[in-house]
Point group: C2
Chain length 449, copies 2
């Protein structure tokens, strides 16, 4: 790291300089993108204070605004990854080709060694990978979210970071987690405007009823979003049925959890009644196909039924511990392919719905006016370079983008008017990779000590 | 195209100069790769006349040999794509999210417009994409294979190009195809040593018995490999059962088609008896998961059973008309994920078997001593650049390569000692893209005329 960056970095630890740093970051977010292709037509896009303020042949914009040449590029909304465990990127590849039980043992053993620096650099690494693959916003569930918040701010992305309840029925943990949640929420008022605090209930089978109800009440009274795992595996449902005689979704509905403020990840094993409950309540569900396949949880996500019932269907990668990467474009491809196969319908999950699930639906769930390339929307955009064999012939740009190309075609990522990647390069990426490698070496020494 | 290349290109049309050109190509295939990582250890690899002749810290090699710096790279065998329709790359994205019947109508309509230049540039485009994604060898079934052979030679890859019987029971077509097959076989003696002639029976339901038997006899008597589609869809099997009372595999076995010289693509809907027949005969089967999912043909490829029965299990992409790309690394990922999910076993299709299916198994089917990084094997290699977030942490290189990265991590491709790609760049790629675009425009004018 150059000396001046080191000085800047240490200055950031002083609250006053931190606020100044964030202010400077958010000050200049005006940008003019010239000659970019939008739905097949060339246009200019003017971004003012991080919002798309004009699209056309020569939108009105102030003199001297920063200009980006979009010639040969297609513009799309950046992705919204609705279910991640960003810090877990440190465990990518730690255990492969092994049954779930051994996988969980390995990951849980590893997580006991987590500390502030590991979470910070694990999250920076996750952000770098998401930026490289076209994601501007993510909805996360992990530990030490104050450190994760700092990492997201430093990467320039947007995120919802959720405080995660997981008590295993231990009353001491319950008390401690409520206190910690309250304190973290208070501290989150100093986070940048792009990083939001939310509440996670890890799962209905890892959090006791009292704590679940407390968390929901806390979220509702502070206008916070909720996040949980739901019906990821068949055995989870069977265990629940044996104990309660109803499905997990029915129980969450009875406890008042379902609704527009809840994001339920996985929802892979759903009865017709479950689908109806999720739909009627307008709950957001997240399909994490690569993780579901890799851990052999299943693949029959009921996309059509959930969409038709009124649920808000979105897409996620899950953590890199299980799905190995955070590449949402790739996850969209796998999701569409598996829908077509298990439904025996090559017309299932068509491209426009697929892209909406990966962008605007997630934005809606998080209360963001983004996920669209339209005037008035937040300027969270990607520019796609089509000068490669994957885009020849050019019969169908979206099909080429999802089904033919890989994510290295994403040349530029803009988040709220700030360019986070250009020409496939993210500023400071070498530093992030180097520090992440150092932290992983330290982590390995720690768990093997 | 620079003037001297134009001159060279026109000179190639004269047989004498063509042979000189091929001789020059194959003359210098010595190469020394320095400091590359092989299974985690740094080594040098010396390639002599296209064959790996030494691996170690300082293998014996002649002075002045061309040297490649492999620092920071991992070496792996290049992929062998065992089922493609390369020229069909022109139809990538031509019809999306539509039922199979409409898809076939569109493709068959498009194929009536094929001509020599379309096949040549379609195949060049396919080769460019395969090189970019780490494939050195492919097994193809398409039309006008004399033009395809020229395209493969000009790209520097290896291929088995098969003359395709497809008669629909028309006696006139049968006669014409037998004559054409004979003539094409004779002409193939002038192809470069890297391009081989084989015989395809398109499918048991598109070729009449007489022609199938003739093709098998022709292949056996000339020591040629056979290639066919087999049990791709459930309805194909049902129709066959209704007509013959047995499975397609049983019928092919009775007709003497199964054996080590046959490559059967798809084999997705197999009974226990089918698996046994394919295994006992040592037939090569090709799993084309992305195509099977996209066309909603199914996903329950019986990998474990086929492997255990003794079949040679390999991997393919199918044509870009159905699977949209020719990226075998990506296909390997999808194949492993779907095996894990449908078998409900996260340990299914482990990484080493997966990589073998994508490399050495295919090479064995084609009679090539390659698909391994070992002394004496053909030098068909890829160098993988791990300096990206997808390879951090480095707990498991192969898992990162298959499950985390995308194929842009493949920096270098070497085929028989010749460097076809370096730094992600293929010599002449702009020319191929430009000419392919021109040919596609001409093709669209032709079919819309």
């Amino acid at each position: 790291m150059p000396q001046f960056l080191k000085v800047l970095n240490s200055l950031q630890k002083i609250p006053y300089f931190r606020r100044l740093f964030l202010y400077l970051l958010f000050m200049n977010r005006d940008l003019l993108i010239r000659n970019v292709l939008l739905e097949g037509r060339s246009c200019d896009i003017y971004i003012k204070k991080g919002v798309i303020s004009g699209i056309g042949s020569a939108p009105q914009c102030r003199d001297g605004v920063r200009t980006l040449d979009g010639r040969g590029m297609n513009v799309l909304p950046a992705f919204v990854n609705m279910h991640t465990h960003a810090g877990m990127t440190l465990f990518r590849g730690i255990c492969e080709d092994m049954p779930l039980k051994s996988w969980l043992d390995a990951v849980w053993k590893a997580e006991t060694a987590l500390d502030d620096d590991l979470v910070y650099w694990g999250t920076r690494l996750a952000c770098l990978e998401m930026i490289r693959t076209g994601t501007a916003v993510f909805n996360d569930m992990y530990w030490r979210i104050d450190r994760a918040a700092r990492a997201v701010e430093d990467s320039g992305m947007r995120a919802h970071l959720t405080y995660c309840f997981l008590d295993g029925g231990d009353p001491e943990k319950q008390r401690r987690q409520r206190d910690e949640c309250r304190a973290m929420y208070e501290a989150s008022r100093n986070w940048s405007p792009n990083v939001h605090f939310g509440v996670s209930i890890h799962a209905h089978y890892t959090v006791c009823d009292d704590n679940m109800l407390w968390a929901v009440e806390f979220a509702h009274s502070h206008n916070l979003l909720l996040h949980t795992h739901l019906s990821e595996t068949q055995s989870e449902n069977e265990d629940h049925g044996a104990r309660y005689g109803i499905s997990p979704t029915r129980r969450l509905a009875d406890m008042g959890l379902l609704g527009r403020d809840l994001t339920a990840a996985h929802t892979l094993w759903l009865s017709d009644e479950d689908v109806r409950l999720l739909g009627e309540s307008g709950t957001t569900v997240v399909h994490n196909i690569n993780s579901n396949l890799k851990l052999a949880s299943g693949c029959r996500f009921r996309y059509n039924e959930l969409r038709d019932a009124g649920a808000n269907v979105t897409m996620g990668t899950d953590g890199a511990g299980s799905s190995n990467n955070l590449d949402l474009r790739e996850a969209l491809k796998t999701a569409a392919l598996t829908q077509k196969a298990w439904r025996k319908d090559p017309a299932a999950l068509p491209l426009d719905e697929l892209l909406a699930a990966g962008t605007v639906n997630g934005a809606r769930a998080l209360g963001l006016n983004s996920g669209r390339v339209e005037e008035g929307a937040l300027a969270d955009l990607i520019l796609v370079d089509t000068d490669s064999p994957f885009f020849v012939p050019a019969h169908n740009f979206k099909a080429n983008f999802i089904y033919s190309a890989n994510s290295s075609c994403i040349d530029t990522l803009i988040c709220g008017g700030r360019i986070l990647m250009q020409g496939g390069r993210v500023d400071g990426q070498e530093e992030v990779l180097a520090r992440a490698r150092e932290e992983i070496a330290r982590f390995l020494r720690k768990i093997n000590a």
